[in-house]
Amino acid sequence: MSDPILLPAALAAHAPALLVAVPLILSTVAAAQPSGRFAWALAFISAAVAFFCAIELFAATRGEYAIVSYAMGGWEPPFGIEFRIDGLNAALLLLLSATALVTLVFGFSTVEDEVDPDKRSLFYSAFMLCFSGLSGVAITGDAFNLFVFLEISSIGTYAIIAMGWSNDRRALTASFNYLVMGTIGATFFVIGIGFLYMATGTLNMADMAARIAELPGNRVVEVGFAFILVGIGLKAALFPLHLWLPNAYAFAPSFVTTFLAATATKVAFYVIIRFSFDVFAIDSGFVQNALTYVVTPLAIAGMIIASAQALFQADARRLLAYSSVAQVGYMLLGLGIATAAGVTAGALHLLNHALMKGALFMALGAFFYSYGVRRIDDLKGLGQAMPAVGGAFTIGALSLIGVPFTAGFISKFYLIQAALQNGWWWAVVAILAASVLAVFYCYRMLVALWVNPKPEPEHLPNGHVRKVPLTILVPLYVFALANLYFGINSEFMVDMARIAAEAAINGGVGR
């Protein structure tokens, strides 16, 4: 590892382990005691530690094919579990921990508002488990270990989604639905790993990649890839496996929706990239075929159909959830293009989409905090009543449409460019059609927000209006302004995505 930039060298050497282990151990401390505030502080500390470790790892992986490898328990890979960080997952880890840190500030007031007092410390404990599991999925270089972390994050996720029940009992069925679907997905994934283990006799991804290269045309390996693609596709909400997502996002507490929308499907998307390009080689025909003939049509269908479904939603968060399914389609389209430019565009959209959905869901959380409203009809006139929150929401919505000078424009621009380089004009048509649909559904919300008189207080479901505290406004504007900043000053994000794509395609774990 190169010279540490932030942490003392003794800690920097163990940054990969600390990033995952600190949230894990603090979640047990949080679960044991009754105070929600104290648990929040622990969660914040764990996210801050993870953030510092992620910056450290990000800096250490900036060089050409630079890799940080950490042998768990001193057992050297490929026999022991290896944590392996390259340009691809360093960017994801940075996104994950930064999002956790910012949304936790947002959670300080909204969780107190939306979660029962006696459940708050358990809520933060489950959140830390989820966060630790997601970082574990992103950081590990061992295929089976990835499955274990996937399950850790899923269990935490089911619990925190179900915590929305004190506002809306449908959160329980939404969470149960996700539990059943998520378990099926994880089972498919582990069956796929089983096939690969059978064919290669190893679980370390780098080792596996080297051995798969020696087995061209092996049917067991191909079946393993198919199982992994379907299993993780379910977690990534790849259309038509997205059915768990709209309800889970719509009924979870605002904090959970914000965090999951910005991170959960992204981590699954990362796993697809890792397996398609690193563990399997794109030049082997069946991966290329799977991406071109399976992933690309589904991605385009998802973009169009989910955007169209978003048009007809009454609940604002459900609308954005369907839009998230469509955005996953954009990312997977980048993957389906399967060139360096395509994967760069996909990774770029992954990062930018986290920024826009973070801002949008936080703004909806702020409206709920003040006015207790979730439906689009009830948003009428709130722009006049809460101009600051309405402004941030508008920035997020414009970025979602892809208006120039926002982050959303940059990633769509790169995606269209990548599609044109391949000569896929029909993909460009699909991107533009989905963007037009995005204009319509964002227009619906923005019109409700701004083109109506300020609502009269007696119509409020809550009885009184609460002022939005700074703990909501500051993280909201961090996300909203990031959308503008990275829309104008896009080099940082584009470089990050380009290095990530190069790490995936050229660097590769096995090469």
Partner: protein, 147 residues
């Protein structure tokens, strides 16, 4: 002491034996099938039998719900903390060799697993008890008359 006299007497005789058997399964796992998961369930079964026969209030007195909650977290904490000990000694996370100087015979690994198993035992026992409390302690949301 009217109803279920036989049950009460037999339970009183059996419960200590169940506990001993639970610890036997735990500590004998090095030589025979068993381990912290099985042992934890057996220990929890003793508390559950007590709760079934003497009533929930008696069981809650013996193992208070807060103790179950703390036990769950403490067990997992012990498990993770053993990994952190090796970090403190400057080795990689989960490297149990630091726990004992005799690296050649892997005494540290042996010690590490024993400590981890204690954490597992604690967590499994208290989780099963907590699940029992959660189900048995539920009052029906709709009273019988309203059906």
């Amino acid at each position: 002491m009217g109803a279920h006299l036989i049950l009460r007497v037999v339970a009183k005789l059996l419960i200590p034996l169940i506990f001993i058997f639970g610890f036997y399964v735990h500590f004998h796992a090095k030589y025979a099938p068993g381990g912290a998961f099985q042992a934890g369930v057996i220990l929890a079964a003793a508390v559950i039998v007590y709760g079934l026969i003497y009533g929930m209030d008696a069981a809650r007195k013996a193992v208070p719900p807060w103790a179950a909650r703390v036990g769950m977290a403490l067990g997992a904490f012990i498990f993770a903390a053993v990994g952190f000990v090796s970090l403190i000694f400057g080795e990689n996370f989960l490297d149990y060799d630091v726990l004992h100087p005799d690296v050649e015979h892997a005494r540290g690994q042996y010690l590490g697993i024993i400590l981890v198993e204690i954490g597992v035992l604690l967590t499994v026992t208290t989780v099963i008890i907590a699940i029992f409390y959660a189900f048995a302690g539920r009052s029906p949301e709709i009273t019988e008359e309203e059906w």
